[in-house]
């Protein structure tokens, strides 16, 4: 691993709800450099809250011994510092473009806005940059697409717009929170390929959140397996077969193997005892 861009130590996120305190993330630690870090886990395991806590955008209560990005302590950073970091240094791609784009603004305007927030560019320059960015995410008629509203573009196109918008200020680290889960399978691969190229070309760090362990293992260098707000296991993608934790093994076995005939899929094993040991060892 290269020198870490982001170091997180003992991060917790909790919510006060009428039914009591919900601990979404329970004391996790990890580092990310100029690499691809995958975070996998079932629904509700705290993946999204981890990403949002880094950007200071969770409504929950955050506590951590350290959240340090490029030497900046993000835990108690002033609002202004956080705004300069968001988009410009750390950005996030959300899951479903049908909800994550503003429905009453053209997609082009939204991309240009992401550029203008962090530069002194005037409208025309920003539009020019946005058009170039649309070409980069392999959209063919950028001028035409620029003027479309979110409801007029397909899911795959919407997610390319999202990528363009989040990469246009040139961030160092990008958090992709299930960027392809809302897309058709064929389109998923196109969007992943675009993201893949851009992360490589620009030498960015990537945190790739997904519930699909196989997808993540083909896309990332390292994987954090999360369960119940904790990290169960950290894997190098080259050594998936060496996974030890029963939860990880369970996730790996969940995919039907076409070569072998199976009447029933194994049920994912889950055990509350895993959450008792803080270091994540089974």
């Amino acid at each position: 691993m290269t020198t870490p861009l982001l170091s997180v130590e003992n991060l917790s996120v909790s919510f006060d709800t009428p039914k009591g305190v919900v601990e979404a993330v329970r004391g996790i630690s990890f580092e990310v450099g100029q690499e691809r870090l995958g975070i996998v886990g079932e629904s509700g395991s705290g993946k999204s809250q981890t990403g949002r806590a880094i950007l200071g955008l969770t409504p929950g209560r955050v506590s951590a011994d350290r959240i340090e990005f490029d030497g900046i302590d993000l835990r108690n950073a002033p609002a202004r510092t956080m705004r300069n970091i968001r988009g410009r240094r750390i950005s996030m791609i959300m899951q479903d473009p049908r909800y994550s784009l503003n429905p009453v603004m053209t997609v082009g305007w939204q991309i240009a806005e992401a550029y203008r927030v962090h530069t002194n560019a005037n409208r025309r320059e920003a539009k020019q940059r946005a058009l170039e960015m649309l070409v980069t995410v392999r959209i063919r008629e950028p001028e035409k697409v620029y003027g479309l509203y979110p409801h007029q573009v397909s899911g795959g196109m919407g997610q390319r717009v999202m990528i363009a918008m989040m990469l246009i200020p040139g961030p160092d680290l990008i958090i992709a929170d299930e960027p392809t889960s809302a897309l058709d399978v064929t389109v998923q691969l196109q969007v992943l390929a675009i993201l893949d190229d851009m992360v490589r070309d620009r030498g960015m760090g990537l945190i790739f959140i997904s519930h699909d362990l196989h997808l993540v293992s083909s896309f990332c260098d390292r994987i954090l397996v999360m369960y119940g707000g904790q990290i169960m296991e950290v894997l190098d993608t080259g050594a998936m077969h060496r996974a030890e934790h029963p939860y990880t093994k369970g996730l790996l076995n969940c995919l039907p193997d076409l070569a072998r005939r199976q009447e029933t899929l194994p049920v994912l094993e889950r055990d509350a005892d895993w959450l008792l040991s803080r270091d994540g060892a089974p």
Partner: protein
């Protein structure tokens, strides 16, 4: 199945590109939409005129008697009956009624002995003036209050704004009006009493629009303008309180709804300031929904706020219709009702058009 880390070059980019929407002949779609719209407006008008026709011609036991009185001779009675066209079939009578309305002929008012249309032209601007100013204030104050409450949900300022809203919404307007008159006119003497203008200013400015503020300003009569404005303050404030309460409440709930949407998180991730997130991103979406609400508020104020107009002796359409009703002046009542109804429909059509312009999702 999964792409390798070396990057998958996609071969089927073109297929996705072709997913660019091809709207099914926009012109045709638009024509169809307009036709649908127009037909619903037409239906509303037919319903409105049919109801007023029934109230005016069918319900009175004997409309002829109502006009000639019970001591008229049979000849006079028959002549009037013929003149009213009451010997013709109902449908034909209705069509005649429609064509009269189309020509602006609502008959003559018994009370004022003038054509009803002339009366309406005299009375309506007073209501228009009041309703417009009340709506403007309701919008200018209600929207920021609603946004402020939503942004500070659950905090003190939210509770304060909610209480103001509850007050404006639930306190009877006639009570509020009387108290306001008592305090500001009778007690403190800061503001003039009922009426649109001091009697000694009457008839000085030439009536053009019928809206005194506008007419006096155009003619440079600033003293009269100030006087009219002072008269307007209390009744407009009463109505504005109502408008403000409603608009603030709806703005708050629309805003809360929008702030929970995913695109708000996107806007924050981009590094936008909180002000830009709220006013640029969320509010644009709130505005789309608010257009209908503002239209409804304005229309309901234009219907004539009988209580406010009565308390403040405001010679508006609400007062005109009510007084006519008490005097069994059916032509006046029906004429007033039709005009108010047209206004109501007109404003709804207008807000609908505006909505279509503002909301890109309604374009196609």
């Amino acid at each position: 199945m999964a792409p390798n880390a070396g990057g998958v070059k996609t071969s089927s980019d073109a297929a996705e590109q072709d997913a660019l929407p091809v709207p099914p002949s926009p012109v045709l779609a638009r024509v169809a939409a307009i036709a649908k719209h127009a037909s619903s407006i037409l239906l509303t008008f037919i319903g409105l005129t049919a109801i007023t026709f029934i109230i005016g011609r069918v319900m009175p036991a004997d409309p002829v008697l109502a006009i000639v009185g019970d001591r008229a001779s049979q000849d006079v009675y028959d002549a009037v009956r013929l003149q009213l066209g009451l010997d013709k079939p109902l449908i034909q009578q209705y069509l005649i009624y429609l064509s009269n309305i189309a020509q602006g002929d609502f008959g003559t008012s018994i009370m004022t002995t003038r054509p009803v249309l002339d009366d309406i032209i005299r009375f309506f601007p007073a209501t228009l003036e009041l309703a417009t100013i009340a709506t403007i204030f309701g919008v200018l104050l209600g929207i920021p209050m609603g946004v402020l409450a939503a942004v500070n949900q659950g905090r003190l300022i939210d509770h304060i704004i909610r209480i103001i809203g509850l007050f404006g919404y639930s306190v009877p307007i006639f009570w509020l009006g009387l108290v306001a008159l008592l305090v500001f006119y009778a007690g403190l003497g800061w503001l003039p009493g009922p009426g649109r203008i001091e009697v000694y200013y009457d008839g000085i400015v030439e009536t053009r629009s019928g809206i005194i503020l506008l007419d006096s300003a155009l003619q440079g009569e600033w003293e009269i303008f100030r006087n009219a404005l002072a008269h307007l303050v209390l009744p407009a404030a009463m109505l504005a309180t109502f408008a403000l309460a409603y608009i603030a409440r709806m703005t708050r709930s629309f805003m809360l709804d929008q702030l929970n949407q995913e695109y708000i998180l996107t806007a924050r991730v981009k590094g936008l300031s909180e002000g830009a997130v709220i006013w640029k991103h969320a509010f644009r979406n709130v505005l789309v929904q608010l257009i209908t609400i503002i239209g409804l508020t304005y229309a309901s104020l234009l219907e004539g706020s009988v209580l406010t107009e009565t308390i403040f002796a405001w010679p508006g359409i609400g007062q005109y219709i009510t007084t006519s009703l008490f005097n069994a002046d059916m032509n006046a009542v029906i004429g007033g009702t039709v005009v108010v109804g047209f206004c109501f429909v007109g404003i709804n059509v207008l807000s609908d058009i505006l909505y279509r312009i503002v909301d890109p999702r309604a374009h196609d």
